[in-house]
């Protein structure tokens, strides 16, 4: 029997597109993420900077620049943007967090997902300071799961210890789970394995779309190339002149995230650029 050549080289580059015009702020993504990733439980989680959650349901408004009733509100599900960085000549293409980690606890995987290995983390929090999106959280306390809450813990995600950084990894354990199942069915090609992270799977309005950015036919790459797409505070996106863009890319490092936000609302676009209302 002739076997197809088995592909072991990862060709996928996972990315996400979040349609803010479709997001109703229902918060299902947040609960699903917490459940999937064994988020620690605290009696009072209202101290937001110290809150351990991979997905933050950010409420944003333009009330700083607009007066009632010209205001707008939106919810912005914000997780790790899985930055790629750019190759600026002097530096190798690395996300801001990876280049500062002294312990090689965080790295970019073959599929573009920025990993964070808590057991290797020494808790210096350089990466947290370097992250432009505040996507990394520090376990100030030991993650505890009071009494019977332990029973709802997912076995695929290890419980981190105190004093380490954790963050969203696009639920990459689900990919491993899917790959297991595919291998059991005889599918050995790792590029044939697709998956959906918890937040995208539960989203009731289909606002969160996840997929392969390298596959130009995938829904996510079509969305990310649309006019409505933009990335959070990645100023290089605004430069339309290709020459100027190239020059800048050679000179400076950009985060280059793989999470795209889609919106047709100009205030949201401006806000994501930290621009005043135009």
């Amino acid at each position: 029997m002739e076997e197809k050549k088995i592909e072991i080289k990862m060709k996928r580059k996972w990315g996400m597109a979040i349609d803010l015009d479709k997001c109703t702020g229902c918060g299902k993504c947040s609960v699903a993420c917490n459940q999937e990733n064994n988020m620690p439980i605290f009696e009072d989680d209202s101290d937001v900077p110290k809150r351990v959650a991979f997905l933050e349901l950010m409420k944003v408004t333009n009330d700083k620049n607009a007066k009632f009733p010209d205001v707008k509100t939106a919810y912005l599900p914000k997780m790790c943007m899985q930055c790629e960085g750019n190759d600026s000549g002097k530096h190798k293409a690395d996300p801001p967090c990876v280049s500062v980690c002294p312990a090689v606890a965080t790295d970019v995987g073959d599929d573009g997902v920025v990993s964070q290995i808590w057991s290797r983390c020494i808790g210096c929090r350089y990466c947290q300071a370097a992250c432009p999106y505040e996507a990394r959280v520090f376990n100030w306390w030991k993650p505890e799961y009071e009494g019977s809450f332990k029973k709802s813990l997912n076995t695929d995600v290890s419980v981190a210890s105190r004093g380490t950084i954790v963050k969203c990894t696009f639920c990459s354990h689900i990919w491993k789970r899917e790959r297991d199942a595919a291998t059991a069915k005889g599918i050995l090609d790792i590029n044939a394995v697709m998956y959906t992270p918890a937040c995208a799977a539960i989203c009731p309005t289909g606002a969160i779309v996840f997929g392969d950015l390298n596959d130009h036919e995938s829904e996510v790459s079509k969305l990310t190339t649309s006019n409505r797409a933009m990335r959070l505070t990645n100023s290089i996106d605004d430069i339309k002149d290709p020459e100027k863009k190239k020059a800048l890319l050679n000179k400076k490092q950009f985060a280059n995230p793989k999470v795209y936000y889609l919106t047709s609302q100009s205030w949201l676009r401006d806000m994501m650029r930290f621009k005043k209302n135009s």
Binding site: T155, K176, A182, A184
Partner: protein
């Protein structure tokens, strides 16, 4: 000079031996290598007598590709039936094992000593099905577990498997060694 050497090496060798013995005993007990087994098992006889060469006969997979690990007593009684004969002249006929009587079919009276730590997502299925282009398997059970086919007891392998061992294989086979390949 000779006397000096003798004076030094006699206690050296004696103490090396004593401390080696004590420490290893200590290590074994920490790693529970000597923990009492509820059920003895002879890998060698099963492989030789019954030709169960394929480890998967007992150490199989779930439908979703998860490794079952140690078998359950139900797997034993599927051959050593609970109502089979106790003694028989036919060496190939599986006999009833009275020691299984006190266990339920779902019991797994063996400790697993080769568990990966929780922060590793290790898939036996993926590793065991990986093939070279000419169809040879990239790894065998023995690559990590040692030659269990000749063992006559359920004793574990000495020493822990370290990440380096995984990485060596991955490097040799030109597989990705990125953190997230195994860790989550």
């Amino acid at each position: 000079m000779g006397r000096s050497l003798l004076l030094f090496f006699t206690p050296f060798i004696i103490f090396t031996w004593i401390f080696f013995g004590i420490s290893q005993k200590g290590c074994d007990s920490v790693m529970q290598a000597d923990a009492a087994k509820q059920l003895p098992f002879n890998h060698q006889s099963h492989v030789e007598k019954y030709g169960t060469e394929d480890c998967q006969t007992c150490h199989g997979y779930e439908e979703n590709g998860r490794f079952k690990g140690t078998p359950s007593v139900g797997d034993c009684t599927s051959c050593h039936a609970r109502d089979a004969v106790l003694n028989s002249n036919d060496p190939l006929e599986p006999k009833r094992k009275p020691m299984l009587d006190s266990f339920k079919d779902t019991d797994r009276p063996w400790g697993s000593f080769a568990k990966q730590p929780d922060l590793v997502y290790f898939s036996h299925k993926v590793v065991m099905t990986a093939k070279y282009e000419d169809g040879r398997l990239k790894s065998r059970c023995g690559s990590c577990h040692g030659d269990k086919a000749l063992s006559t007891d359920t004793k574990m392998l000495k020493g822990k498997m370290l990440m380096g061992q995984c990485m060596d294989c991955h490097t040799a086979l030109k597989l990705s060694n990125k953190c997230a390949v195994c860790h989550d």
